[in-house]
């Protein structure tokens, strides 16, 4: 890693450090119930991170990112049931999801489908999963030993210590694994966007034609970042079904697909920590609202989305960064003016 890259990654490392501190301190400070809830929120934030990468940095508006999340969760669950342990299941989940994403991505990017139409296709994919899996209730629907369970879903075997299926992890330990996974993914993505690969992806987002005219095969770059994003979403899926204990086809529905997009809009496209923070914030908001009828989730989420699109289109993090840098520039100008005035005296 070059010096300039380390410099650019300084905020990433700072946030990662904060994350580590939080990870170590939280179980002693917070109740177990909160810790379990947090695990779910962490899983969701990994999903947000994956979309922040492919949309915020890569410019690929994937409406169905949640499909990779859910697919990862299902593949993990089914594999873990069949293997009798979690270790290989996690790997299989990531690989299968990434493979699926690369097939879908090849179809889309090498077919030069883009923008809205890409959004439709990815939305359709998650809806297909939703339709398909919901109707697999009967005993004849199973893969190996694992029943697919239809709209009731499947219970997920908890993660166990590597290759030791008897010693599965307790909720507090699952929390550690989840936080560690989030931090690792976050640092990885933070590194990735500063590599040549990452910067070319950003360039493609800015102007596809110009990137092509410079000699870059944009289809390959888009496919690459899309596949990596899916893999990260799959990691989130594995964490999710451990946090919740089971996975149901509802994960693939329109609401969750929308929610994923909302996290990135609210948090801010072009940042990583923004969408992660937005996920936690909105998770807290929707939990606090509970199932109440008047100020229900839909209402509040709808208002938030509209307000952000109209008034804060860049999202929270970039707006804050914008203010901070504007104030910094102002004070720098003031200092320069003062120096000039003193110089002429």
């Amino acid at each position: 890693m070059t010096n300039s890259m380390l410099r650019k990654m300084r905020p990433t490392f700072i946030y990662a450090l904060l994350g580590i501190i939080f990870m170590l301190a939280a179980p002693s400070v917070l109740q177990l119930f909160t810790i379990i809830n947090l695990t779910t929120a962490i899983a969701l934030s990994v999903l947000a991170l994956s979309l922040a990468l492919i949309w915020g940095y890569g410019g690929i508006l994937c409406f169905g990112q949640v499909a990779f999340f859910g697919l990862g969760a299902y593949v993990y669950t089914i594999s873990a049931i069949n293997f009798g342990g979690s270790t290989w299941a996690i790997l299989v989940a990531i690989i299968v999801t990434s493979a699926f994403a690369s097939a879908l991505g090849y179809f889309i990017f090498y077919g030069r489908v883009s923008d809205v139409y890409l959004g439709v296709i990815t939305l359709t994919v998650t809806l297909i999963f939703f339709s398909l899996i919901r109707r697999t209730s009967g005993p004849e629907y199973k893969i190996g030993n694992a029943l697919l369970g239809g709209f009731n879903g499947v219970s997920s075997p908890p993660i166990n210590l590597p290759w030791n299926s008897a010693s599965f992890l307790f909720p507090e330990q699952v929390f550690y694994v989840a936080m560690a996974a989030l931090i690792i993914c976050y640092v990885f993505v933070g590194w990735l966007v500063n590599t040549k690969f990452g910067r070319v992806c950003v360039a493609i987002r800015e102007n596809e034609l110009r990137a092509e005219l410079l000699g870059y095969d944009i289809r390959a770059y888009k496919l690459g970042i899309f596949t990596i994003g899916a893999g990260i979403a799959a990691v989130g899926g594995v964490l999710f079904c451990n946090g919740v204990g089971r996975i149901t086809p509802d994960i693939f529905n329109l609401y969750n697909a929308a929610l994923t997009i909302i996290w990135v809009i609210v948090g801010g496209r072009g940042t990583l920590i923004g969408p992660i923070g937005a996920t936690f914030a909105l998770f807290y908001v929707t939990s606090a609202l509970g199932g109440q009828s008047v100020f229900n989730n839909n209402l509040v989420l709808g208002i938030i989305l509209i307000i952000f699109v109209l008034l804060v289109p860049k999202g929270v993090a970039p707006t804050i960064i914008g203010w901070a840098s504007a104030r910094q520039k102002k004070s720098q100008r003031r200092v320069r003016r003062r120096r000039r005035a003193e110089g002429t005296r």
Partner: protein, 242 residues
């Protein structure tokens, strides 16, 4: 000046580009030699920009062939053509607005070199094109002429052996136009160039051989002086005086 008749680097054979009933480019045979500088001129709708886009891969020709250094590149993707070592500047500046001038040029250099050389080459290019003041500015914030220069910087940083420029002097001030002409002369020392242009003064500054397009075909190919004196050429321009 005696032109060296070296290898043929760009050739089109019976190139046609039709849009429905419109024959934008019709049966064009074109040849460009190594390190030659050719200007393409002609009235609006003559087909020069369409022809240009057939060379860059932005359009897939209806029929005919495009050969670059002997390789058949008809209908190839733009990135394939660029990957041959061809630098391209489009009519409307195509730059990365959300990135700084430095990053724009770096992306070009980095395509061909590793980290260290790319950074060095970027710095060199910025100095050469005198972009030092705006290196950290977001390109979207620059004036039109500056954006054109950033784009030229991107082209130059790739060290191409063939450069295709579509209206490089468009919207530029007198001084910028002069500097662009100088830059093109410099590039011509190592690379072949095809320049599509409207600005007659600019063409006079740089041209040797000029190809005059009209109604989808090549009307004549000669020096600017010869063309200016020609009756047919005058007629074609109808009111365009140099």
């Amino acid at each position: 000046m005696k032109r060296k008749r070296g290898d043929v680097v760009v050739e089109t054979r019976e190139l046609c580009m039709h849009f429905g009933g419109v024959r934008a480019v019709e049966q064009v045979d074109f040849t460009l030699y190594d390190r030659e500088l050719r200007c393409l001129i002609g009235p609006n709708g003559a087909g020069k920009s369409t022809f240009f886009k057939c060379l860059t891969g932005q359009l897939v020709p209806t029929s005919g062939e495009v050969l670059i250094r002997g390789h058949e590149m008809t209908g190839a993707e733009p990135f394939e053509i660029a990957s041959l070592g061809v630098g391209i500047k489009t009519q409307v500046p195509n730059v990365f607005d959300g990135l700084t001038a430095e990053e724009n040029i770096w992306l070009s250099a980095r395509r061909w070199h590793g980290e260290a050389r790319a950074r060095a080459l970027t710095a060199e290019t910025i100095d050469r094109l005198d972009l030092g003041d705006i290196r950290r500015t977001l390109v979207g914030r620059l004036a039109h002429g500056q954006r054109q220069w950033v784009e030229l910087g991107m082209v130059v940083a790739a060290e191409p052996w063939l450069v295709l420029l579509d209206e490089p002097a468009a919207g530029m001030t007198h001084e910028e136009t002069y500097r662009t002409a100088q830059l093109i002369e410099e590039i011509n020392k190592t690379s072949a160039l095809i320049v599509v242009e409207h600005d007659m003064q600019f063409i006079r500054m740089i041209s040797r051989q000029v190809t005059l397009f009209n109604e989808g075909g090549i009307l004549m190919e000669d020096t600017m002086d010869a063309i200016s004196a020609d009756e047919r050429a005058r007629e074609v321009y109808l009111g365009h005086r140099s």
